[in-house]
């Protein structure tokens, strides 16, 4: 029975989307972790003789610079690898932070209802009246540039995503008789929340977490694009895009490559989230089992 149980719980690994998602995210994470070993050059090393080299395979390319160089002669591949470090750090830290705040408030609001729900609901209303980009810019102005500010800003902006979506799910679960039954057999509120409600909302929470990681990557790119993320002596994908915009006509590659990096990373997280939603969602699950 134990083996069968394991099989059922791990069924999501069989989904194609999850496999591709895990693979893409895995690649990006390894790039981030092993950047110092993988990068052929120092990402900040400037070489003003070899600026704006195209990738190695096209005419005029230099095999020493596999993906070419930027306007300051820095190696694009190395900068991409180091950029993955910034992106992944922000993605993981910010999304877990946002998840902790957002899902805690969602469970409190959905479970207790009444005044708690009202208060949290109004806070979400206030937050939602700010477009996320605008709010994060305002926060970044207050917090000052830097990677920890980026993380904090994303947490403070995106907790509402978790709160809004999860609250609805908690409400659905709360209405189930088994939650009332748990209270009637003597469960404390804490035990009811953790043993009866949380297991039901967990699939959605994990899915949201995966999608939020993609969103965090995008927001970090936006903030570094407008020059508010990492300092000038560090590589970030958004910064690379901003630099490449200046030499748009000379080298399209410089623009395309960091965009591709962002896209692939976000795609990985989205596929993972989509696949998890399909395999973990109990409603979809039931429909499939019938």
């Amino acid at each position: 029975m134990g083996k069968r149980f394991l099989k059922k719980e791990l069924a999501f690994l069989r989904s194609g989307r999850v496999i591709v998602g895990v693979a893409l995210v895995g690649i990006v994470v390894s790039c981030a972790l092993f950047a110092p070993f993988l990068a052929p050059h120092d990402p900040e090393e400037q070489n003003l003789i070899t600026t704006l080299l195209p990738p190695a395979w096209s005419a005029g390319g230099d095999p020493a610079y596999l993906l070419g160089t930027d306007s300051l002669g820095r190696d694009v591949l190395s900068r991409l690898l180091y950029g993955a470090r910034v992106a992944m750090t922000v993605a993981v830290a910010a999304s877990f932070g946002a998840m902790l705040i957002g899902s805690t408030l969602a469970h409190l609001a959905g479970y207790f209802g009444g005044k708690v729900d009202w208060l949290i609901g109004r806070a979400v209303d206030v937050w939602m009246s700010f477009p996320p980009v605008v709010l994060s810019l305002v926060l970044m102005t207050g917090l000052g540039a830097g990677i920890s500010s980026v993380i904090l800003a994303i947490v403070l902006v995106d907790w509402t995503r978790f709160c809004r979506v999860l609250r609805a799910e908690v409400l659905v679960t709360r209405r189930q008789d088994y939650v009332a039954a748990a209270r009637l057999v003597g469960f404390s509120h804490w035990r009811t929340l953790t043993r009866e409600i949380l297991p039901a909302t967990m699939p959605l929470l994990i899915t949201l977490l995966s999608i939020e990681m993609g969103i965090a990557v995008i927001v970090e790119a936006i903030l570094s694009f407008v020059g508010m993320s990492v300092g000038a002596n560090q590589s970030a994908w958004g910064q690379m895009i901003a630099d490449a915009r200046q030499t748009l006509y000379e080298s399209g590659w410089n623009l395309v490559l960091p965009m591709l990096a962002i896209f692939v990373t976000v795609l990985g997280f989205n596929l993972l989230g989509d696949g998890l939603r399909r395999t973990l969602d109990p409603r979809l699950l039931q429909a499939r089992e019938l």
Partner: protein
């Protein structure tokens, strides 16, 4: 043969699984329905009765298909008919009356828009004439203010009104065949009786043939001319309706008849069929008669060979080798339950009121009194029924007593102590004294817990340090108490049948050995044979464990079977109270009289 509106010959439906296996959902179904007649298809859920209606429309669920035999409408083959040709018939010559009237009308379209669309399809081009015709049809089904109704949306109508609208739409095209799939199951008893009457009236007026699909044998016997009884995808008995009910030939029909509690027949025990009807997945592997494992008259031959549906008497057919033994199946007369000794009341409710505030429009808000000054008491070991229709406040009453909601005013005492003391000690005390069994096991059982873990939830809260072994042991005791094998403890609710789920539901409430059990509609929505099993279970538990029961139900006959005292609720008030036998035999309040009258449909056939 030529006069048949709908004729099935050896009809078979099968379901194809993902792995390519084919399961026979229905096989060997034959019948002929003539104009102006009513054919009843009777069976418990999963017997395949709805598949026949769906096969007519070729709207079978995905993976299901007609595998053999023929189904002909007025001599035209429905199975091999093209999609377009069949769509021409639907809504014109073949009409359907649905099970859930409230959800069968489009919520964002007015009644007029939906009726108009239907009439336009029937070829009435002028909008004026469409409105006229719709109004005439709505008046034909006795709906008042028809013109106004056409401008309204479905959510502004009651379930009964929606069903009348749908009946009017069904008969608007003067169809040759009307198929009604459990058309009254979702409605209250008093409305149910009127809808059945209306369908009969419409059938007479328009001369259509009617196929009536239901789980209710008595209702079918009263309303239909001929009945086909289905069991596990097979027709087990077919015959003239009244005779079929008064002297069944197949043991399954007989058992069904004896399993239904009655409001007027002399007190006798309900027949409890062991086990359950085999599910779809097991149908393919069965040998011999499908009913044999549960049949009280089972013989050697039944397990080897499958009986065919054969004529036994004039216009009577049955698929059984031993029909002569069927009527010998009997139940014992029930001894009147010994009235428990009057002790100090266990539960005492005094002047209870519950007011809900509902916002209406912009500024106004109206109060709804869900419970209006209710007082009563329940003694130890006493079984008390609470009856009433939907909206009478009976479920709210249960929630108030158990503490899921707080009353607006009034007092509830459990064992002489105020139940609304908000202290933790009082909460503990209430948990130990009173427990509740919820109506819908689908929602009442956490789908992520195993049965053994669900039934011992009380221990998890009260004694979290209990070892797994001890907990497992208690779980097995409890499961045995409600008649489930220990092996089922390892299953998740989704792997249990409806009846098994409800047993787990009851077992959880019993774990704390409460003095008072509150049960909200715990047998409604279950098949009659499962319902009879649960009633028997409650009887047995009462003898073994001793507890009081507050049994909330809309089904008067079940309450009569189970409870010695009854409260009748109407619009939040208790309008009548007394000994069950007395209240139902000589109801005093006009509402009780109406309720008893509506519940007695089927009596005619029964008393023959």
């Amino acid at each position: 043969m030529t006069s048949s509106v709908l004729a099935a010959e050896n009809l078979a439906v099968e379901s194809r699984l993902h792995d390519g296996r084919r399961l026979p959902v229905l096989s060997g179904i034959s019948f002929a329905l003539e104009a102006g007649k009513v054919l009843g298809l009777v069976g418990e859920s999963g017997a395949g009765k709805s598949m026949i209606g769906r096969a007519v429309a070729q709207l079978l669920p995905p993976g299901f298909s007609v595998a053999g035999g023929s189904l002909a409408f007025a001599g035209r083959d429905l199975v091999r008919m093209g999609v377009q040709a069949r769509r021409q018939l639907l809504g014109r010559e073949i009409a359907f009356i649905p099970q859930e009237p409230l959800s069968a009308l489009n919520p964002v379209m007015t009644i007029g828009a939906q009726f108009g669309e239907h009439l336009a399809r029937l070829g009435i081009t002028s909008q004026m004439r469409r409105r006229e015709e719709a109004r005439a049809m709505l008046e034909a089904v006795h709906l008042p203010r028809a013109a106004e109704l056409l401008r309204q949306f479905p959510h502004e109508l009651s379930g009964g009104m929606c069903q009348r609208v749908l009946i009017a739409m069904a008969f608007a095209s003067r169809p040759k065949l009307v198929i009604a799939d459990e058309p009254t199951t979702a409605l209250d008893a008093t409305i149910q009786a009127r809808i059945i009457g209306l369908m009969g009236e419409m059938r007479d007026a328009y001369g259509a043939a009617l196929m009536f699909i239901t789980h209710d044998l008595r209702l079918a016997a009263e309303f239909c001319d001929e009945i086909v009884v289905l069991y596990a995808g097979r027709a087990v008995e077919k015959g003239e309706a009244r005779k079929l009910l008064s002297s069944p030939l197949h043991p399954y029909t007989r058992c069904l008849q004896l399993a239904v509690p009655s409001l007027s027949a002399p007190e006798r025990e309900l027949f409890t069929l062991p086990g359950e009807m085999p599910g779809l997945a097991r149908l393919g592997a069965l040998e011999g008669c499908r009913f044999a494992p549960r049949c009280p008259n089972v013989g050697e031959i039944c397990r080897k060979e499958e009986p065919k549906l054969l004529a036994v008497a004039p216009s009577r057919e049955a698929a059984c080798f031993r029909t002569e033994l069927t009527l010998a199946i009997e139940t014992l007369n029930q001894a009147a339950p010994a009235s428990p000794k009057r002790t100090a009341p266990l539960l005492r409710v005094d002047g209870l009121k519950k007011r809900y505030v509902s916002r209406r429009g912009l500024f106004g808000s109206t109060d709804v009194l869900a419970i209006d000054d209710v007082s009563f008491a329940v003694a130890e070991n006493e079984f008390v029924g609470v009856v009433g229709e939907s909206g009478s406040g009976k479920s709210t009453l249960a929630k108030l007593i158990i503490g899921l909601e707080r009353p607006s005013s009034g007092r509830i005492e459990l064992c002489g102590q105020d139940a609304f003391d908000r202290s933790e000690a009082a909460r503990r005390r209430r948990i130990e004294t009173a427990q509740m069994v919820f109506q819908d096991p689908q929602s009442a059982l956490n789908p992520r817990r195993r049965a053994a873990s669900i039934v011992t939830q009380v221990l998890e809260a009260a004694a979290p340090r209990l070892s797994l072994n001890e907990r497992q042991q208690r779980a097995e005791e409890l499961l045995a108490e409600v008649g489930l094998s220990a092996e089922l403890g390892g299953r998740y609710p989704s792997q249990l049948s409806g009846g098994q789920k409800q047993r787990v539901n009851i077992a959880r409430a019993l774990c704390a050995a409460p003095k008072l059990l509150i049960a909200d509609e715990i047998v409604s929505g279950l098949d009659v044979s499962v319902q009879a099993q649960l009633i028997a279970l409650l009887h047995r538990l009462r003898r073994e464990l001793s507890f009081a029961l507050l049994f909330i139900s809309h089904d008067l006959a079940v309450v009569r079977k189970l409870c010695e005292r009854v409260l009748v609720m109407w619009r939040g008030k208790v309008v009548e109270e007394g000994l069950t036998a007395q209240v139902f035999a000589t109801p005093q309040h006009p509402y009780t009289r109406e309720l008893v009258g509506a519940s007695n449909t089927g009596r005619i056939a029964n008393s023959e």
